[in-house]
């Protein structure tokens, strides 16, 4: 079965007075036919890998083999006290999301959430909100479950693949998931969590997937950071009572429509956008020739 609407979940949550995370845990128990304990411990394993990807990521100082990324989380954390305008919560969430992105591109072990290229946003947002609100591990796990409904519905109605629907479907969805998780952890209602996701996804529509040289580095890594900050803003707006005029189910349909309209040059093919700039092409040519030149031809034997 695929989940094509958030509406039944909102109705159920309201009728039973439960949060989105709670409803999703019950849903998972039902489809897996296992106990609540097993469900919680399975998500606990996912969370453990997420935490380890943050801790490893924010320590990275080395540049990647392409030279395009690496060390930016460290720079941001180091300079945050003297030079920050936004303050420590935003700086922390951005550096953590960038850290996971850098860890992924340096062959670290991450959780695709929903993809490897967008794997920084959900862990960074959940970690930062939980730290700030001193949330328990159980609340964190509920937050992750809350985020899953958003991702599943987007995946069923539109896509969570940059090659099919552009980066809106990867980072946009990950940020919408993160916004819902943040509201859940802060104690918000199911409606508020889904509303935060709607606010976030609306503001990611149309994002191109145009990675330089086809590598998961530029613009992917820093985009994880900036979208993690936006997810916190969307969660705060929703918790304050601001409603998205367009409900989530309509936003995901809009994302699907826009995704279908997007040209293939900006769907992970690296033929348009940033990948096709002078800088982008320069990196691509240099990487391809240096990669190919390092290999001896089989026919030279």
């Amino acid at each position: 079965m695929t989940l094509t609407s958030v509406e039944p979940f909102i109705l159920q949550a309201e009728a039973e007075g439960k949060s989105l995370g709670e409803i999703m845990i019950e849903h998972e128990m039902e489809i897996q036919e296992v106990s609540r304990e097993e469900i919680m411990s399975a998500m606990g394993k996912i969370w453990k890998v997420m935490v380890s990807s943050i801790k490893n990521g924010i320590k990275i100082e080395q540049r990647s083999p392409s030279g395009m990324s690496g060390g930016d989380a460290v720079i941001l954390l180091k300079n945050r006290k003297s030079k920050s305008i936004t303050g420590s919560t935003i700086i922390k969430v951005v550096s953590r999301a960038i850290g996971v992105g850098e860890f992924n591109s340096s062959m670290g072990t991450i959780v695709a959430s929903p993809t490897a290229g967008s794997s920084g946003v959900v862990p960074a947002v959940v970690y930062t909100v939980a730290e700030k609100l001193k949330a328990s591990e159980e609340t964190i796990i509920k937050g992750l479950f809350a985020s899953s409904l958003i991702g599943l519905v987007c995946d069923a109605v539109a896509s969570t693949s940059g090659s099919e629907h552009g980066c809106q479907a990867e980072i946009g969805v990950s940020a919408a998931m993160a916004a819902a998780a943040a509201v859940e952890i802060a104690g918000g209602t199911c409606k508020q969590a889904v509303n935060a996701a709607a606010l976030m996804l609306k503001n990611s529509l149309g994002l191109a997937c145009d990675p330089i040289a086809g590598l998961v580095e530029v613009p992917c890594i820093k985009r994880n950071g900036i979208m993690a900050a936006s997810a916190l803003v969307a969660a705060d707006m929703s918790l304050a009572g601001i409603e998205s005029v367009v409900p989530f189910d309509d936003v995901e349909i809009a994302m699907d429509e826009i995704g279908r309209m997007m040209p293939c040059e900006i769907k992970e093919t690296s033929e348009g956008g940033l990948a096709n700039t002078k800088t982008g092409r320069g990196y691509k040519n240099w990487l391809r020739s240096s990669g190919a030149n390092q290999l001896q031809d089989a026919s030279d034997d």
């Binding site: 079965m1 695929t2 989940l3 999703m24 849903h27 998972e28 489809i31 897996q32 296992v34 097993e38 399975a42 998500m43 394993k45 996912i46 890998v49 990647s64 083999p65 392409s66 860890f103 992924n104 591109s105 340096s106 062959m107 670290g108 072990t109 991450i110 959780v111 695709a112 959430s113 929903p114 490897a116 290229g117 794997s119 959900v122 992750l144 479950f145 985020s147 899953s148 991702g151 599943l152 995946d155 069923a156 969570t160 998931m177 040289a213 086809g214 590598l215 998961v216 580095e217 990487l287 391809r288 240096s290 990669g291 190919a292 390092q294 290999l295 001896q296 031809d297 089989a298 026919s299």
Partner: protein
């Protein structure tokens, strides 16, 4: 996994950065290792198409080495697989190859050099970490690893196939697909059989005893070890 499971959207746990150029490459290396059956000592890896150009940015070399060491896609040691192989004194060379237009742009050929047991595969990384094994020891195959796969090379005797399927049914295993091809004039055939569940080790031993059988391997499902429950 169920379409509406949270773990489909929060997961899999994997080693970055790319499902096709990293996770797929790990799986191709691991398949070669499983086919060979033990730790190889001397290996040549040939990158075709996109792998020959972008391997460095995606860590495809370390990914293949990790696979050859028997690692799964989420193993944290993939990052240092090259160092681990050096320590284990495994000689792994990387070369560029042009396999031709009939091969998928993301293809890898792996040759494990061992005069007693030469092993050679050509495999494609087709996206999302999925792979297809196109050739084993020169025989055309179409193995995806979605199921447990028996790989059997044997003399082309009449009745061999019925002996093989007879043994499989003895263990109450359901056959999903079966493909058998011989090389004309060479009197040798390759049979690949997909079954639903992991086969007991005894089956492997019994298959090996069939007259004319010279290679028996049972490849587990590609996603073995990734189950959440």
């Amino acid at each position: 996994m169920a379409d509406d499971s949270a773990f489909r959207i929060l997961g899999p746990i994997m080693t970055g950065p790319s499902s096709s150029h990293t996770a797929g490459a790990v799986r191709i290396g691991r398949t070669a290792r499983l086919l060979y059956g033990k730790e190889p000592k001397k290996v040549t890896v040939f990158f075709h198409g996109s792998f020959a150009e972008t391997w460095k940015g995606h860590g495809s070399d370390k990914a293949v080495i990790g696979g050859l060491l028997g690692f799964k896609t989420f193993d944290e040691r993939i990052k240092i697989a090259d160092e681990l192989a050096k320590k284990a004194e495994i000689d792994i060379q990387f070369k560029r190859i042009r396999l031709g237009a009939n091969y998928h742009p993301n293809s890898i050929k792996i040759v494990i050099e061992d005069p007693e047991q030469p092993t050679e595969i050509i495999a494609e990384s087709v996206g999302g970490g999925d792979i297809v094994i196109r050739e084993i020891l020169g025989f055309a195959t179409e193995i995806t690893g979605n199921e447990v796969t028996l790989i059997l090379r044997h003399k082309d005797f009449i009745g061999t196939l019925s002996k093989i399927t007879g043994l499989i049914s003895e263990y109450n295993l359901n056959i999903v697909s079966l493909c058998s091809k011989d090389i004309p004039r060479e009197d040798i055939a390759m049979t690949t059989i997909e079954i639903e569940e992991q086969a007991p080790a005894e089956l492997e031993a019994k298959l090996a005893k069939i007259k004319g059988m010279d290679l028996v391997r049972i490849l587990p499902k590609l996603t073995e070890g990734e189950e959440m429950f």
